[in-house]
Symmetry: C2
Subunit: 444 residues, 2 copies
Amino acid sequence: MLNLDLSNVSPFLPAGWRTGEEKGLEKAHRHLLEGTGAGSDFLGWVRLPADYDKIEFARIQKAAEKIRSDSQALVVIGIGGSYLGARAVIETLTSNNYNLTRKDSPAIYFAGNGLSADALNEVIDLVKDVDFSVNVISKSGTTTEPAVAFRIFKALLEEKYSKEGARGRIYATTDAKRGALKGLADSEGYEEFVVPDAVGGRYSVLTAVGLLPIAAAGIDITALMAGAAQAMEQLAVPGMDNPAWQYAAARHALYQSGKKVEILAGYEPAFRFFAEWWKQLYGESEGKEGRGLFPASVEFTADLHSMGQYIQQGERLMFETVICFDRARTKISIPNDPENVDGLNFLSGKGLDFVAEQALRGIILAHVDGGVPNILLTVPGRDERSLGELIYFFEFACGLSGYLLEVNPFDQPGVEAYKNNMYALLGKPGYEKQKAELEKRLGG
Amino acid sequence: MLNLDLSNVSPFLPAGWRTGEEKGLEKAHRHLLEGTGAGSDFLGWVRLPADYDKIEFARIQKAAEKIRSDSQALVVIGIGGSYLGARAVIETLTSNNYNLTRKDSPAIYFAGNGLSADALNEVIDLVKDVDFSVNVISKSGTTTEPAVAFRIFKALLEEKYSKEGARGRIYATTDAKRGALKGLADSEGYEEFVVPDAVGGRYSVLTAVGLLPIAAAGIDITALMAGAAQAMEQLAVPGMDNPAWQYAAARHALYQSGKKVEILAGYEPAFRFFAEWWKQLYGESEGKEGRGLFPASVEFTADLHSMGQYIQQGERLMFETVICFDRARTKISIPNDPENVDGLNFLSGKGLDFVAEQALRGIILAHVDGGVPNILLTVPGRDERSLGELIYFFEFACGLSGYLLEVNPFDQPGVEAYKNNMYALLGKPGYEKQKAELEKRLGG
């Protein structure tokens, strides 16, 4: 079970701060469980760990097995929630060097999440001489970045395996009923998986969107779902003992007290992209109407020697949320040095995990002393079950947080602005007037 | 040459904001060139691109050639400035997947920059069956993370190659005269390189600290230095035409106007760790006395689908600094689709670089319309010379920025706080009293 420690939050807040958040939380909790709040069309994630489509889940496992048996690489094409969730889970549970250290699993390359020609050509080079499959993930099929990448990798597969052969290597995760990709998948006969209507991109990691690439990497998605289901049961119980309530309450109270930045601090390099997933979840859910905590992340202890100075003594505008995995997966002991050149023989024979634990305790106190409130979240281990719990915990607390902030936690109206400008400048039919206006501004 | 565009800054600032910064910049500029300001013991980087030790430079090149000829992997042990600079340059100039895509160059693994047992064991697994060398980088030789890692990899090398053989595979970058690592390197006969006294860690990428790993990756360090030297000449000229003055002025004026977060936005996945290097440079130089911009980073267009919503409509507390590499290294054209399933045939035959350029232009306007000031820095290409320029540009502008903020840009007094707590909790001799106090606080 996750353990949340708020003992280093309370000193920064007025007495009774928890009580002040309770009424808002009761309402937010009802919004999530009963669909009474804004964005209630997007609550499909709330009961997902129990109510998921078991038949599709079995198909995901089967497709993953096929990919593992016939492919040395899987190209996962998607952006935003169709990218970060799978990458976050795969790296956290294996390594940020997964593609370098994997043994019997296919390489997983993410494409279609940007517009870098160099990055796209790199993935092409990496797969062109091996057997590979493609999982294209897009609700509409018309988002520029993944659509462009899919054109390219589809052509590559068809050239390599013929149109018929390519069919058996393309997995389309898309809308259940409509859209460009759905139409193509139907007519071509690709195996299809569903991006559910009621689950937004940033909440989609436990749907086929995340699960197929995760399973293809050899990760036990049954245990991942079981962890999420456990958290779902636990967090459905309202009250201040609920850790999601506590987390949402603390960050909301800190925000109200003037803290504008939340730093998620991890101690494992493998955790880097989980922090990116968390940034999307919270940034996109809360960052609207001129409100919301700015989500940032650091990797300790590396970044104590980069961002550490700022955290200790810079602008007092942030608090930290520290993720600690309780058990290291592997052990290593510090060798003795008879000459004790570095003066570290007081550590000889100690495990590195012991050093890391003392560092974490010392860092928290140092930052608290420097005026940075601290939320400590201890996760049992870097395993499927624990990560499932952590995902659901952050999702549920994020829903609560958005409602506490009085925004719709499930929309993202601001994302259209850049897309419209981009379409216009690219000369998309129908955008002629906007193009002329933009070109005038850019020329001026 | 770098090109700085501030046209999307001025609308957010009072008329005449540049004039308001000029006096401070004149003084800051003198502090850097004449050593008249705080921290003037650490100005060795200012003339470094011209005044570097040419004999040592040739030794670095020779050592890199030796590593390239006798090693399939190089383990680089260092933390903070002894880690991020080399990693930033290697990845930016090759790929964030360097170890996966390298051809005739050794793998470069960074170790000793954290306390994760799993991450350390991973590097051990990756090198134990190949020929490898170690570059240990530490001014003192007693910083916990790199010292622990060095104990382990030194033992591994000695076991594999004998004590004598290991000697020829260990490169020590350390103090010129004193310290634990210097003493050991002298007595063992390791090849030694110098961490200069007058160059702080975050400014050390163009010394042996960064240059040896960079050269080992097959990067042309002569061109890198030439680019830096060109920027040095250009930026030594005082005045508002100086792009470093402009950048420092803009970010200081924005900070004074209430912006608290600077987001560095790149468009190349390979740029991710350059942004980390930049965060250390600015965060550690400015983040003191309760002041300084909080440095954050995003990778576009991927993060437009995660942090994009917040940037467009969240708290108006930030501005963006966008890095644009003018030339992509490789080309790729968007294939035509006779059926135009995704509706993107208006892009058929267009290069992805064209799409990326229009996206960048559209994104800037969208964010500016959303109330986010924008600084656009165009870099000629993703090549050694351009990157040398960019490094020096950021270093010089950072020195100016620190003085504008009236802090010492070259110290990091806050970094000791966590180290002292950690030493005490680990039971380091001499810290007994502090340990008892801390344990009491933690137990309470």
